[in-house]
Amino acid sequence: MDDVTTTHRPHKHLRTESVPTDPLKPRIVLVGNPNVGKSVVFNYLSGLYVDVSNFPGTTIEVSKATYLNYELFDTPGIYGVSSFNDEERVARDIILNGDIIINVVDAVHLERDLFLTQQLIDMGKRVGLVVNMMDEAKRQKIAVDLQHLEEELGVPVIGTVATKNKGLEEIHDLVVRAREGKQNRTLHADLHARLSTVGSQGEALLLMEGDEVIAERHGVPPTDISVREEIYIDRRNRVNRVLQRSVSDVETGRRLASMIGRWSVSPWFGFPILAVVLYALYMFVGVLVAQDLVGLTEDTIGKGIVEFNIKSWIAGHAATTVDVDVLDAEGETAETRSFRFDEGLQADRALWKEAREFPGASDAEFTFTYDNPWLVLFFGEFGAVTMTLTYLVFLLLPLVLGFYFALSVLEDSGYLPRLATLVDRALRFVGLNGRAVIPLILGFGCVTMATITTRLLGTQREKTIATTILQLAIPCSAQLGVIAALLATAGPLATLIYTAVIFSFLVIVGTVMHRTLPGETSPLLIDLPHMRMPQLNNVTKKTLFKTWFFMKEASPWFFIGALVVGVLQVTGALFSIMDALEPLVVGWLQLPREAATAFVMGLVRRDFGAAGMFHLELSAFQIVAALITITLFVPCVASLMVMLKERGLREGMIIWFGSLFLALFVGGVVSQVLI
């Protein structure tokens, strides 16, 4: 009769890695499926101060804030608590450590969302349920009986329209009232029998559901998958019963938004809609931001004012040569004069005044060459401080803001999953699934930013393929402008050859990787949220968060990249590299020797490489060969750094050297065939 006695077998509890927490404050964890408006609820509760960080050991972002006397955690959107992907693994650990779970669900998709709710309840957590998008449900003639839902689930329920701030004031009350809900008795008993092995009911449940990570953490073998299935099926049936009693629907209305949603995945209208979206994206990010705004911020403010003032201030008491290039209307150098300051600008103010007034009303470029190599390293032509500052603040920041804004609009409108659906088949050729379309599009803005975004892909294999394609064959916006200008002078045939070579190269590399890398493409199983009008304040907040996160993440790498090139320049290694490249450039690529400089400059920033070609007198086919080489050539140092961080040293280096070799190889072959 003593078989009910709890036996404490020896077992281990490995520390759960998590975001740092305050032991004195109760933890509220926001949990929900993707696209249910969880971030709006988080923003409502968190106020201004949000701490966004990477979850230890992963690349998933976790937001943490303080709400009254609670610590508030956001989690990635998930369909259930388990370990099917990184998002779920991160959410799982935060949920296990949480005291109160606020579960946000979509009133229209309760069938889908309540599965997670019931799972959280089965974990024995104190749960409060926020049924969001009540307006959308009403519009679709779905009646949700919140009272009934509360009775059936056994946890408090409120209804909200988060985007319009409706009902959110009740959340505090919900937090206070949150409690354990109705659970399956047999399951509950099973779970409690396991409490001696694991720390909590939540972990016991995950253990029964075959979670390998939890099993390992407690040193027990994972439970058979069939148990999970039984639990899942039972849970699904319970959810369906709850729904039968609390939701009734009359008729799904046909509205414009849902019509657009349907058209955007149809074979006939889908591609024209995609074309319109891409064109709008191009006009906004490519023209308005990348050309007009960046032209103003980078040249006028960044180089003309900020850099000029820093450099001339540094040159105040240091031996410096100032070269002034007067530019004509086309931006070509019309006249150059050198001014020498042996004891700094301040020692010879008259000459400095003369230098500044030398260009008159024309535009001019001032180049400061310091005698002291340290000053050159930090403030010279490729100065780690000056170049990074201009590049980051005045070129990249507007661009990244623009891109993330556009992306947030597309994301909040519900279009992105439809786009993924539309292009899924095409991307499968290169071993990717539809989701990869997002980083690939972002790559046309900034390859560095896109490389970071490859995190959202499901498997390491897909991340490798997408990163390689991005680094190799996708020209970023900075480069695209110069490429387009050069191709315009080379003519339509040259443009055609260039596009065909780059595109077929992209397909070939993708296909080869798809065929040779072990593993399979993960299948697309994606939920299409309803289309809706994005809310400006939410889009803005998202844009700012993402931009801040990117700048924080990428800035040091841009600085280090500039420093590396600066050291190469100061030590003279840069010129040795150019000399070493010369035979290859002249003999194999059949380009003038000065092109070597342009290629090496492409290391600093991809567009420098292409821009360097402007001053060379090239035939149309030489332009094609040069541009193909530049496009496939190593991306800028910052994207290399980010790639090394994301993909690891070994893989990053393989991609880097691979692209170096392939760029020269393909460029040369094209050159040998054409010229």
Partner: protein
């Protein structure tokens, strides 16, 4: 009786899920409510096999190979 799969369903077609594949995908299907006995209709079928399903007010897209792994009975 020859079994049919979801990938054979054309636009506008309706079917009852007869058998899901084994393994991890099975749990993921059950989680979103795509389980044996559920009735789905095909909202859209893209060239290449990607299929958009409607069931329980939700729209879900599946790649062609995934659809081919689900056995259905046409309605």
């Amino acid at each position: 009786m020859r079994s049919e799969t979801l990938s054979m369903l054309g636009k506008g077609g309706r079917a009852r899920i007869a058998r899901l594949p084994e393994g991890e995908m099975r749990s993921r299907f059950i989680r979103i409510g795509l389980m044996e006995g559920a009735v789905v209709s095909c909202l859209e079928k893209l060239p290449g096999g990607t299929i958009v399903l409607v069931f329980n007010h939700q729209e879900v897209a599946l790649s062609g190979d995934l659809a081919a792994s689900i056995e259905v009975a046409r309605l």
